[in-house]
Symmetry: C2
Subunit: 205 residues, 2 copies
């Protein structure tokens, strides 16, 4: 597996999402054409993307949905359940902690942190909110490599530093700010307002 473009990796979760949907509908086989049609992507791109990782289809019949889903899960390393930390238990942190959809897709919330003394000690989705002070030790103890960052923008960079120091390697950042992190740490951004602004460009007022 040499030199796979990051943009290809970014599409695999989308493919997996569609495959899971087909599995729910008890569909046994699919094709690059069908998958492409559903996702608004060309069939050629889907075949090319998958070809980076192996040969998963059969001429004439296409792809076995369950088999392909299993393969993509392996490729993305979500054929297991990654423990995650959630930092910041405001409204968003609560919603994340209660969300039921992680397990089926390779993750679970293993611990919660906040700085607010009123929140520390709070019970939430079978977990107790801990202080940021205890974060380093807890992350090491639970072997947490993945974190979701749901704190105010002002606090985000500082928390990111602490996470990196504690060995976290992947941060999903909900704060509307670009983070600076060491090269061995990956960051992905969730900024709903940025998506909204992207769309209003095309809206004639």
């Amino acid at each position: 597996m040499p030199h796979i473009p990051d943009i290809v990796i970014g599409r695999l979760p989308i493919y997996l999402r569609a495959l899971n949907r087909m599995l729910e509908d008890e569909q046994e086989y699919t094709s690059s054409h069908e998958l492409g049609e559903r996702l608004g992507i060309s069939s050629a791109q889907i075949r090319k993307d998958l070809s980076h990782f192996g040969e998963f289809g059969k001429q004439g019949t296409g792809y076995h949905v369950e088999y392909l889903a299993d393969q993509v899960k392996q490729i993305l390393h979500v054929d297991r359940e990654w423990p995650m930390a959630v930092v910041g238990v405001g409204d968003l942190g609560h919603a994340i902690a209660h969300y039921k959809g992680f397990k089926a897709r390779g993750f679970y919330v293993a611990c919660l942190f906040d700085t607010d003394p009123d929140k520390i000690g709070e019970k939430l989705a079978e977990l107790t909110v801990k202080s940021i002070e205890d974060m380093h030790d807890e992350l090491q103890r639970l072997n947490v490599k993945v974190a979701m960052l749901a704190v105010p923008a002002k606090a985000a960079q500082n928390v990111a530093n602490l996470l990196a120091q504690a060995g976290v390697r992947a941060i999903l950042n909900y704060a509307p700010i670009t983070l600076a992190v060491p090269p061995n740490v990956r960051v992905q951004y969730i900024d709903p307002v940025a998506h909204l602004q992207h769309m209003t460009f095309y809206l004639k007022p």
Copy 2:
């Protein structure tokens, strides 16, 4: 303004985010180099992107932060406040309804909808949750063109159809499913798990 690549539009909100940050820090001027360094983007790309829309800088001194921010806001049509509908008031819908960050960036939540009779009538952030049955009329009345979709995956496509029929032109979809919509409706996706899976690819287990 002919033929501007969509990928360029997608970066403008990121630029705007950084400019707002600089404004908060009372920084008067910036350069494509500084902006690029902060965002992990080349300075050439930033200059090229902006050049699609006009000439906003001065040789030698760079860009006036406030002026550029105002221009980008105009380009994205967020020099106003767009009323939004939120459909689905579960944990996520609650978090969205309570979120304070929309106004400053060009949006506000104007109405809330759900199908659950237990939730209809509930007061939430100064708004009353309405039935999906009333959605069409309410959206027309409030002239809502933008919606956030926070319902379960199973219900999402159906709600998207209703939104499109009611004249909504931009949908921010939190359900982990690709939607089929008429060509005059734009959709953006927020799938946190997809981002997590993107990152675990690079994590050696």
